[in-house]
Symmetry: C2
Subunit: 202 residues, 2 copies
DNA sequence: CGTTGCTTTGACCTTTTGGTCAAATCATTC
DNA sequence: GAATGATTTGACCAAAAGGTCAAAGCAACG
């Protein structure tokens, strides 16, 4: 029986600082490209101190990914089968685009992980993610069968939303290099909304 | 005056083997995640032998990126201002999707680079890439002004093609985890073609 | 205000990794 | 087939990086 002591104020503050710093560093350099020294420096802690709060580099990364996956899928979970189809989908798209704008580091953390073959979350993808997407794909199929939105491949429809919205976070430098001064988030929402209105009008 | 000796057969073979091996390793693990030992092993060479052909890890990576950037942008260059607008755009989309299917490692090499802020090719993006995209955006704008395709933001239109097509290479594991047995490249082309037909019909 | 347990750190260890070098081997050409 | 230059390698090096540990510093509570 190990007694679980309550978390002290210092622990709460330092753990939060570490995760914040780690998100910065991991999202910018990938898992292998990030170093404990960088993370410790960004969190204003010494390296041994950092390792007092998390047992290893992997543990920090895992904690981040686990905590984020839920947040990341919330917008899709919120897609309401009882709602007005087109509005539900546009709301989902909007929410995803807001996340790309407001949480780009989180998006890039996932992008790094997935591009490199998702070594750490492959199992989660094939179980949790797949079943969530399958469930929502059935909702979409129902809407299509009822003639409430146009008939398209439901899974690819979802992929298209992911790719179009996350592109603005993951490929931010490229987008901005091409766009120059124009802020992508000024013009992207209208473009993407138009796209889905045209695609999905029955 | 340094005399440039012609490349021997052995040199040609080994340099090619190294670049092939490096593409494998860099695209799978990112720059920092790849090691010279891995690349050397994949190329069937000893590490010092590898460094006889390329002076450093950076040099190998640079050689890959430089060689690939051109290939990567060829489909966009091929967009013909004199062609039939919708057909030109659909051909571009098709070509990009084929590249995702046939050259996924190349796509992931770029994805790794860009997600991490494009430290090595930032300058190229803001000069060469930007001017190519701007040029083609003007072509699109012309087509829109002439009423030959629907009016949408031309840059975002191009971004959408990049993101929709490259998603199938860069996020391959995720797509396959969600799709199960279905091959994404069986169903994606039809979905994407439909999408652009609906978006762009005047 | 001293004890207890939480927190922090300097010093250190080991492994990994990019890179060097001199010597050996191999190919080619005269 | 000897000489010349291209190719290959084992041994080695220094720096970076993940991680350990014992001791010191602090906070809080009785």
């Amino acid at each position: 029986m190990t007694r679980t002591r309550p978390e002290t104020r210092i622990q709460a503050r330092n753990r939060a600082a570490i995760l914040e710093a780690a998100l910065d560093v991991f999202s910018a350099h990938g898992f292998r490209g990030a170093t404990l020294d960088q993370i410790a420096a960004a969190a204003n802690l010494s390296k041994p101190n950092l390792l007092y709060y998390f047992p290893s580099k992997d543990a920090i990364h895992d904690a981040l990914l686990a905590g984020l996956l839920d947040t990341w899928l919330d917008p899709l979970r919120a897609l309401d089968p009882e709602g007005e189809p087109l509005e539900e989908l546009l709301a989902y798209v909007r929410r995803k685009l807001e996340m790309s704008r407001d949480l780009p580091r989180e998006s890039r953390l996932f992008a790094n992980e997935i591009v490199q073959g998702a070594p750490r979350i492959h199992a989660t993808l094939s179980s949790d993610l797949k079943s969530l997407v399958d469930e929502k794909a059935r909702v979409l199929t129902g809407w299509m069968a009822a003639g409430r939105i146009a008939r398209v491949h439901p899974h690819h429809l979802i992929f298209s939303i992911w790719s179009l919205t996350q592109h603005y976070a993951d490929f931010d430098v490229q987008v901005r290099a091409v766009l120059g001064d124009e802020d992508p988030f000024d013009s992207a929402p209208a473009f993407i909304e138009t796209l889905y209105r045209k695609l999905l009008s029955p």
